[in-house]
Amino acid sequence: MRLHEYQAKQVFSDAGIPTPASDLAATVDEAVDAAEEIGYPVAIKAQVHVGGRGKAGGIKLVEDADEAREAADDILGMDLKGYTVDRVLVEAAVDFENELYVGVTMDRGEGEPVAMVSTRGGVNIEEVAEEDPDAIAREHIDPAFGMHPYQARKVVYDAGVDREIAGDVASILRTLYQLWDDRDGADAEINPLMVTGDKEVVAADAVFNVDEDALFRQPELAEMEEEGEFAESELEQKADEYGFDYVRLSGNVGIIGNGAGLVMTTLDLVDHYGGTPANFLDVGGGAKADRIANALDMVFSDDNVDSVVFNIFGGITRGDEVAKGINQALEQFDEIPKPVVVRLAGTNAVEGMEILNEDLVTVEQTLEDAVQRAVEYAEEVEA
């Protein structure tokens, strides 16, 4: 779960990391009021979970009330890579000399956290990592001990940060690590950490991704998640509501299955047989009839979907429950909205097959056949 910039800044600032004065605004008037209050120049920044906001016109620097009004009017309501901008952060512009990058993330390969510092801040750090890996200094952190103060200093010196500000940057990095550790961070980043002419350091952007699996013990962040989801698509909202692992893609074959690996494989097979997957949807282990019906509802709600393949290999999940859920979901329609192909295997698959209403669905015996059939249906619809 990713906090919005304004939320992450609040969290960072509460922990003592310097951030520019700022205020959130949902209307043009609010934005102008905020700008007046803060004093010009200010930046007006779209609060959506989209990379490259600046390039896409989602961030504007303004010098007076007229410019502020114009910029807020432009940005509020604009569509940024599929997300409608509902709120902007109005923030004091920082007059900087250079920009650093500071971040903490989990290095899955090593199984432990890693702290990173670079003097090449203000740009896409993943690109820096690719072009010039040595431009990012890294220090692995022992999760048992946490970050030792010397490690923060070491990575800052290794990155080549000016000695004058090294102590401040190390101190910010320690705070960032502590937040990451205390708040179950997945990634915590400041990019750019701006260095002013007076050698002050200020977090001009803030990223904080929280480990979804730890939200249960981070009530404050869970509340921010609730509050922050003002620009979610209808389908994403639905998936959240139903509690599905769901990823929308651009194709037209809807996919429902159980188990991440098997669902991914089903997507891959759709592609392999010439189709294009519309989504990833994992109903998880042990799904009962209701959940299966919800999954069908999700996929039917996607206008791009032309056909659906249902692929269940029962372990904990029982084929008869799946079949009941499919029947239940489809029996409410006078006409089935999109053709559904079903393949059941494993626990109670035979019972499931018997229950399935073959007037409503196409049953196939193998995964390969099921996928091929769904791809054919989708092609027929598009033809």
């Binding site: 699996d213 991914m264 372990g315 494993g346």
Partner: protein, 290 residues
């Protein structure tokens, strides 16, 4: 024995009094697994599925001479349960089924694991089975057949899919290890492959990887350098877009393009591992290798 578990394994179930713990304990026992104890704080003295329950893992291990533990504890407490199991020297295998353990908890468990001689399989895995002998976890025993092909996979149901095809074609399995779909896991592909390499009862290995991380690439390097037992591969997630978590917490192609299916497929093929396009291809490849 095959690897990790066999008919002599003496198994504790942590979380045996919970719904999942109880159900799968019954299933494991029915399969023939030697479940000797449960461990649940505050439930010592009870019995579940005919198995005595103890308050602590140490008590359970000492009283019942156990060597293995299976963890069915809810995610908020599962990290602690792993520490408890790893704190008992007698346990040389801990299989953690629980999905959704906070990653920082797993990272600490992993740190502790490096200081022990034990194997930790999982978390977020279906378990380990040596067909005809014993199963640990939630794998559906009925699809497995005893035989000589080892299997190691990051995904549960994908494993079942491949195993079902193998069994239907008369190709039995020595041991199947579900190593789990989390970003940080105990036993890696490399460690599992090393076990199979040394196992006299394993003639070939199927390895099912997926997008995210670099475990498959490391496995490819290991296979290339050290393995004589042939390996057939499969990689799920060829069509996964970057930056999206595909069900498994670990199944994510990074924004900078590492962890892709193609990178893994290339690495495996360079190591001489045939990678199937479909699960059926994999089974064809196994037939060729045997």
């Amino acid at each position: 024995m095959s690897v990790l578990v066999d008919e002599d394994s003496r198994v504790i179930v942590q979380g045996i009094t919970g719904g999942e713990g109880k159900f799968h304990t019954e299933q494991m026992i029915e399969y023939g697994t030697n479940v000797v104890a449960g461990a649940v704080p505050g439930k010592g003295g009870q019995e579940v599925a005919g198995v005595p329950v103890y308050d602590t893992v140490e008590e359970a291990a000492e009283a019942e001479n156990a060597d293995t533990s299976v963890v069915f504890v809810p995610p908020a407490f599962a990290g602690d349960a792993c520490f408890e199991a790893l704190g008992v020297d007698a346990l040389d295998l801990v299989v953690t089924i629980t999905e959704g353990i906070p990653t920082q908890d797993v990272s600490r468990v992993y740190r502790r694991l490096q200081e022990t001689d034990a194997y930790l399989v999982g978390p977020n895995c279906p378990g380990v089975i040596t067909p005809g002998e014993a199963k640990l976890g939630i794998l559906p025993g009925n699809i497995f057949e005893a035989g000589r092909v080892g299997l190691v996979s990051r995904s549960g149901t994908l494993t079942y899919q491949v195993v079902d095809s193998l069994s239907q074609r008369g190709i039995g399995q020595s041991t199947a290890i579900g190593i789990g779909g989390d970003p940080i896991i105990g036993t890696s592909f490399v460690e599992a492959l090393a076990l199979f390499e040394q196992d006299e009862k394993t003639d070939a290995v199927v390895m099912c990887g997926e997008i995210g991380g670099e475990d498959e690439e490391e496995a490819a390097a290991y296979i290339d350098e050290y393995m004589t037992t042939p390996v057939a591969g499969f990689i799920a997630g060829r069509t996964a877009p970057p930056g999206k978590r595909m069900g498994h917490a670990g199944a994510i192609v990074s924004g900078s393009g590492t962890g892709t299916a193609q990178s893994k497929i290339d690495a495996l093929e360079s190591a001489g591992v045939p990678v199937g396009d479909t699960p059926e291809d994999v089974v064809d490849n196994v037939e060729d290798l045997l």
